[in-house]
Subunit: 149 residues, 10 copies
């Protein structure tokens, strides 16, 4: 009996290691970006029926697990409020060090409002560079203005 999406995530993660599947291959099977598909496999997004069945086949999941993939999950992947993993911490550090800069420049350009984290997409790429390759990430989020009422 499965009582949370986290259990399905563990099944996927276990199967992925055992079978040596890559996230890029999973994304290709589903026909969407590797960023969204990985997030969904890790329990952050909701698959539709067709997508869930593809995932189910790839990772040998039970029908019950496939049903859970179609349920909106409780989101959030950090085990602690401040992440301990060095790779993820660097992102938190960017928010910590550049937070007020991001705020100032977004407001200077757009006025009061936010960059949506829902109507949002992310693209992670390798950028070749003679001084050492770089991770290049493009974030795109709709600007949502505060309005008076």
């Amino acid at each position: 009996m499965i009582s949370s999406r986290e259990q399905v995530t563990q099944l996927i993660v276990s199967a992925k290691v055992a079978k040596g599947i890559k996230w890029a291959e999973v994304a290709e099977a589903v026909g969407l970006s590797k960023e969204w598909v990985t997030a969904a496999c890790l329990g952050q997004m909701t698959f539709n029926k067709q997508q869930a069945e593809i995932i189910g086949k790839l990772f040998d999941l039970s029908d019950e697990a496939v049903a859970w993939l179609q349920i909106v999950p409780y989101k959030g992947t950090l085990p602690t409020a401040i992440p301990t993993d060095p790779l993820i911490y660097r992102w938190y550090e960017v928010v910590s060090v550049y937070g007020s800069t991001i705020k100032e420049l977004t407001h200077e350009e757009f006025g009061d409002g936010i960059m949506s984290a829902i109507d949002f997409s992310m693209d992670i790429q390798r950028e070749n560079n003679p001084n050492g390759d770089r991770v290049r990430v493009v974030l795109s989020g709709k600007f949502l203005p505060y309005k008076s009422y």
Copy 2:
């Protein structure tokens, strides 16, 4: 007497509102990107002598304040570990929801290591879109591999 960089940041912020200067204009005066210059004005980066003097003139700072701009600051701009401001929180949410995805995909492409937050640049742009303009942010950080020894 000035005993911390934060005091200089407050002087700059006060003068900016009083004079109605834009960050883009400050960046142009300094001759660098608006992202780096804003972060530096907000107390997160270190100006060299020439840059500090330009800032000093723009915001009518004392010599002592100009000296402080050239001292490496204690960095970090969030008043609480989890930011309360909605715009900055959305960035924290991206780290929270996509953290494990970013980790997985970076490792799948590069192996064990991190994306540097030091050898790092950021570019914030408006992206015109008929469904509502979007905030487009490009992050570029050098990949630093863990090596065995």
Copy 3:
């Protein structure tokens, strides 16, 4: 010299007590809802030039203070992550006790996504009731769906 919006909020709050002005009167002067105007006076929203000048006259603010009212503020009004004030705590308690219910029912009706806290309005009214009057609050937020990409 004013170096943060919080200082302007304190000026407004002091003047409000000294002069005995009501928020409803402020809202009427500005011509908008009492909810938005109060939030803006308390440092959570951004006034435009005309609105800021009305507020400035009502509370005898300096030109510098009026300039600050037009700058996007750092938002958040709780002095602690969990509020200590009983009235505000009850709202936190609603989120604590009904959080998963709100999530389940919103997803059942709309699918994966959120209720926006930006494209959002609030209306607080007295509801006469023979068993004791009630506070009636209507919240309205645009539904923002997560989409795959």
Copy 4:
């Protein structure tokens, strides 16, 4: 052997996914609002004997589980003090950003006291809107005044 209401909640949640039942259907079977019934199924409210038996049949629960549904539970549904799930966080953000506004306006209308979170009801509806449908939530809580003694 069941030693906490949380175990019963997990049984219900598992059965709900496996059987594909909707909360609205559960509410209809019980004959009460979907908000209260969902909260009760998620371990926040206490069912009476008759209600518990209806729930027990719908989700194939044991007699022991049905007995637990009639025991007042330890309430609270957030796994962390500040919720990580974006949908629930938006509600916390409303409390954070509008907290002082809600307090000021309630006191302006009613004097010192609180809006009850016990003698309280909630109604969540879809509001059709050409700019995108909205989530409309009505909260109604009895005003409880502080009195001197």
Copy 5:
């Protein structure tokens, strides 16, 4: 200029030490219980006009301070979530050690609901006892039942 009720509390506390006034005398002057009057002087309750003027005379407060006494305050008197003062900690310890007992027995007698902390009174008395006098505290709060809807 006074910008918060806390400043008025400090004025009262300073004057009380300088003048050597007792809380029991303040309560007598106001004509209410010492528990409510002390809480109000310490910034937790709202005085009406007449009461505030009595307090103002007793402690030589300015008109502005007297006006603040009539404004509903932001409540909460603990400087940390868990109190460090031994006397106050013992009360927190009672909540910590007896919390589940209080919950069980209140529910056994009344069903689901709470003991109100708003429609609430407290009486603190000395209880003579040959083994050492005791502090006897009577708490009385209205029972507020959860109801289904």
Copy 6:
């Protein structure tokens, strides 16, 4: 094998629900107040041999469990520093709002010292009231003075 008192508490709680026993009946069987007996059953107090055997019979506990009831437990019943359950939170709110009042009045009557939470008793009663019944709680703790040395 039982390795903590908490496991025994869970056995008691499970058996209590399954058998439909009331705390008042347990107290009567033991011959002590319902407050102390409930706290002890919930793992906060230590039973003597005779009492533990009565409890063991009532809840069908093993000899090992009965032995654990006679071991001094690690005390504390709140799963979080600030309780999430509304009933228990109201008690924390009393400490939060009235904490400084309790401190001031106890010191005014007794001088420096504390009200003991060890040489302490509690009595919870229903108080009939035409405006709605009230929960009446009497706390009695020995005053322990600080002395100089």
Copy 7:
């Protein structure tokens, strides 16, 4: 105007450094142990009138400050829940590492109850030792038993 005991503590600490007085000399002047007198000077205990006047003369305090020394203070000297100062941390470490041992052995000897921190004294001495002198601390607290009722 003095509005808290902490301000008096700062006056004493400043005067102590400026005048080069030792705590042992203060204790001798008051005629009590150095442990109690130091704790009282640091704002943790309450002086009587005669003692407060001695302290007032030693440190050139105003009458208002001397009055504050006779008011029961809000106790607690750690700026953070876990102390950062290495000397004080070692005491916290003793509680952390030996906490369960202290609990077990006290209960084995005395049964359920606590060692009082109110009816309590402390004595700190140098213990000469050829391998390096030792700090020898004797703590003595009355055992307070839990009793059933």
Copy 8:
């Protein structure tokens, strides 16, 4: 399979209750103080081979468990940073209330440095007293001076 010292501690604690052994008897069998032996049994100290075998026999431990007793453990016995158990909390309160006193007096006698919590011993005794017996604890730790270099 045992994967942490905590599992061995649980085995010891379970066996101790089941067999009714006293810590003083364990200490006698090992031939060391009851304070050190109890701390070691509770997973805070490292036994040598001979000692571990004595413990193994007393509590019927497997060879694997006996091997674990000889591995240096991860130390710390408090489940929360601030202990909830009243007996252990009183010790934390001593650190909280007397922390600055201990610091001042140790420095006055010894200069800058700390009292070691490693080269440290503790002795807990009953002190007979007509006003109620007392817990008498002697702590002895080597003074370690900070030196310049």
Copy 9:
């Protein structure tokens, strides 16, 4: 089925105690430093295929466990943000007490930037000393400068 690297770490730790293997021997078998190999065995670094197979043989791990050793782990070994174990705490204390010193001197020598914790190595050695042997640790990390852009 293994669903996290932590489970593999527990298998290694259990086998290490059962077999009495030393980390130095493991390092020798792998042919790398004891610092890196220990960190990797404890779940902080990623083994390549050949290294993982050596580890697998030494500790009798399954093929699935050996596969997990080649997956980049979620890093971080402290169970609490501030470590409770005295040995590890001393390192945290060094960061706490010397943090600003390290920052000042690194910046004085290198300018703005950091010492990498990724392009980093550590060497722990015994340093013989007549006054008691010392732990000598050499840390070496690449200096990474912040640059303007």
Copy 10:
């Protein structure tokens, strides 16, 4: 009037920026290592009379400030438990990632005990390297063994 060492640290820091003095020059004037002298100037160590007077002349401090330099300070330089500054955070990350490794290897070499942070020295050097210079830090702390008693 100076009431804490932190105020003296601020005076030193202000003077250092205004005068453009380097820590290495301060160390040379005092005749000790730059690591110890910087830590002492930043309020973590205690100067003797002669050293304090040298510091006083270099930074134009008052006699009162010079007296404070000779008083043992309350230590700890991190404004938050987890440092936000990237340079200092990297050290915390080393403790987080390598904590268990440091513990294991120190115990393997020395047995149970700790590396002292009191009888401790630190040396920070530039290490020239064609791939980019490195920060080389040597830490040396006396090993302090736990002994049974």
